[in-house]
């Protein structure tokens, strides 16, 4: 009875074609954003470099060999060697593994805790909401870095073996990260609940479970995706700061942060910049790409979210 696009238009008449899923439409919009795509490819390159690179490097990570100590970048060692004779490039790649894993793991933890508590507070209001939000307020009022310092101190107190230390750092970062996230998710749930289409789910007699799974969460995912991306950037920065101060990832496990403390002694700092400039640059480029990708994602997902 009604033609979708009148013949007056040049566009052809779309028949039974199934419009692409929202995610495909989002990807198409993201594709148009050159900056975001460059950042995406750079991040993929960083991942490959960190997780696959070490297998190709001729040097085994921890084998120190005093013979070629402190060599400037050369054909053999593209980024030179450190004062234990270890190849800086290989250590950089291994460190990448650690820093990226911690960043992403901390993000996942914060997202899970934050969105769960935020959703519960937002959906069920009342006392639950009050308790969660006051707890979030309290945690957010303790300044981030000092809190991490204290927790870092607790870690070194308990003489935690190196590999467990990584997991605890992830927990620490998410412990500081989740309140901000919970508040964002709660705000989103509250504003969604005011929308008429949520009132419609009530009128249609849909169950609470259906309302949350099919209506609230799909509309919160875009925000979560953007916040998650930016959270990874924040986690990497915090981890590297902690490790630089010697309270995060502790040698011998390499992390971009603790590779930088080579710059603390004056000789290395002046004479051997290849020791501390590459990890610093790696952090910067990774974080800037994540931020650009996050911004591009925000525009692609929902132009109205341009906060």
């Amino acid at each position: 009875m009604e033609i979708q696009n009148t013949t007056v238009n040049k566009q052809k008449n779309k028949t039974m074609v199934k419009s692409p899923s929202l995610w495909k439409q989002t990807y198409r919009r993201l594709n148009k954003n050159k900056l975001a795509m460059i950042s995406l490819f750079f991040l993929l390159f960083m991942f490959l470099l960190s997780f696959v690179g070490p297998h190709f490097s001729p040097y085994i990570l921890d084998r120190t060999n005093i013979a070629d100590m402190n060599q400037a970048p050369s054909a053999a060692h593209w980024l030179g060697t450190d004062n234990y004779g270890r190849d800086v490039l290989t250590r950089l790649m291994m460190a990448g593994q650690i820093s990226l894993t911690i960043g992403i793991a901390a993000m996942f933890l914060s997202i899970i805790i934050g969105s769960l508590l935020g959703a519960i507070a937002g959906f069920y209001r009342g006392v639950v909401d009050m308790v969660i939000m006051r707890l979030a307020d309290i945690l957010m009022s303790i300044p981030g870095l000092p809190l991490l310092l204290i927790m870092g101190a607790i870690l070194s107190e308990w003489k935690v073996p190196a590999e467990y230390r990584l997991y605890i750092i992830m927990i620490m970062l998410s412990f500081v990260g989740w309140p901000g996230l919970a508040r964002l998710v709660r705000g989103q749930i509250l504003s969604l609940k005011e929308q008429p289409f949520m009132l419609a789910t009530e009128v249609l007699g849909l169950s609470d479970r259906r309302k949350i799974l099919h209506h609230l969460i799909p509309n919160t995912v875009p925000l979560l995706l953007v916040v998650a991306t930016l959270n990874v950037a924040g986690s990497i920065l915090s981890e590297s700061a902690l490790s630089f101060l010697g309270l995060g990832v502790v040698p011998p496990t390499p992390s971009w942060g603790n590779m930088m403390d080579a710059a603390n002694n004056f000789m290395d700092f002046r004479k051997r910049p290849w020791l501390w400039i590459p990890p610093g640059t790696a952090i910067f480029l990774t974080v800037v790409s994540i931020n650009l990708l996050g911004d591009g994602l925000r525009d692609a997902l929902d132009p109205k979210m341009r906060r």
């Binding site: 009604e2 033609i3 013949t7 238009n9 566009q11």
Partner: protein, 326 residues
């Protein structure tokens, strides 16, 4: 008849969006005489508001006035320098918008916002400007002006704010007032007050009014001359009595029959099928062809020009191309 105040010829305003160029105003021409109220009527998306904004060159960021002339009191506004156009706005042409609640700055008092055009155009001192503002408020029938002047916009109702907007538009005694759907956001009884006020202003100051609306009832009550727009083009224009008594273009006829009217009992409303076409890359055709009962082949191939009828009415439709009156 008093002579021409404003003459718009072949106005073209286009918008550059991601999915193509939108010809919001596509070759629109009309004229307003002194002391005359001209109504531009049409549904949403027909370009009536953009036409009004083009006159004042207040087009949003991604739009541009491509072509056309706007002769106002002997000068072509499109050729004026930025400074001259600015000196004209609020001074010789006053403007009223649709949403009174958001049209005033929430962090300045009513008084502060009323004296601005007075100081800018009439170079009044702050004290005199406040006095004139209070006089304007009282003239428009709003009680205790001294209190109103110090209130903030959120402390007044929609109807009251719209009266303040009218006071601001009137403050420099303009020759023309452009009202873009001034009563759409108001309740019926408040709308009646505002329309009544506009009619009084026309009587008292002989100001010409360009009224933009989608409500045919408001057109019947206010207009001397009517211009009907559809998808960016003028499809019909004419004096109000002839246009309502004997509408020419099928779209105008359809609109008049589709609107339920108090007192006229109908069991089914006449409907115009389909919907407004997408304005991006429109073909050379009459844009109403797909929704028109009398659509002929020629309608889908060539765009009809605006032809003048015997009694001075104009319509852009192939039914009347040969000039006889269907």
């Amino acid at each position: 008849m008093n002579e021409m105040l404003l003459e718009v010829n072949h106005l073209q305003t286009h918008f550059y969006t991601e999915n193509g160029v939108v010809k919001a105003v596509n070759d629109v021409s009309f004229a307003i005489r002194e002391g005359e109220t001209v109504c531009i009527v049409g549904e949403s998306g027909c370009g009536k508001s953009i036409t009004a904004l083009s006159l004042m060159q207040l087009i949003p960021e991604n739009g541009k006035v491509e072509a056309g002339e706007i002769h106002f009191a002997g000068q072509d506004l499109l050729r004026l320098s930025k400074k001259d156009i600015r000196r004209l706005r609020g001074n010789e042409i006053g403007m009223i918008f649709q949403e009174p609640m958001t049209s005033l700055n929430p962090v300045f008092t009513i008084g502060e916002q009323m004296i601005e055009p007075l100081q800018e155009h009439l170079l009044l001192s702050k004290k005199d400007a406040y006095k004139k503002a209070m006089a304007l408020i009282t003239m428009l029938g709003i009680p205790n002006a001294e209190k109103i002047v110090n209130l903030y916009p959120h402390e007044l109702s929609g109807g009251m704010l719209q009266r303040i907007m009218i006071a601001i538009a009137l403050s420099c005694n303009p020759k023309l007032i452009i009202a873009d759907e001034p009563t759409t956001a108001l309740d019926v009884t408040i709308q009646a007050q505002i329309l009544d006020m506009l009619r009084e202003i026309k009587q008292e100051f002989n100001t010409s009014i360009l009224l933009i609306t989608h409500d045919l009832g408001v057109v019947a009550e206010m207009a001397d001359y009517v211009v009907v727009m559809y998808a960016g083009k003028v499809v019909e224009e004419g004096p109000v009595l002839e246009l309502f008594a004997n509408p020419q273009h099928p779209y105008t006829k359809g609109l008049l029959k589709a609107k339920p009217v108090i007192g006229e009992r109908k069991d089914r409303l006449y409907t115009i099928a389909g919907q407004v076409p997408n304005l991006v890359d429109l073909q050379e055709a009459c844009y109403f062809a797909d929704r028109c009962e009398h659509a002929m082949d020629i309608c889908r191939m060539k765009q009809p020009a605006l032809t003048t009828m015997a009694n001075g009415q104009k319509a852009a439709c192939w039914l009347y191309e040969e000039g006889e009156n269907r």
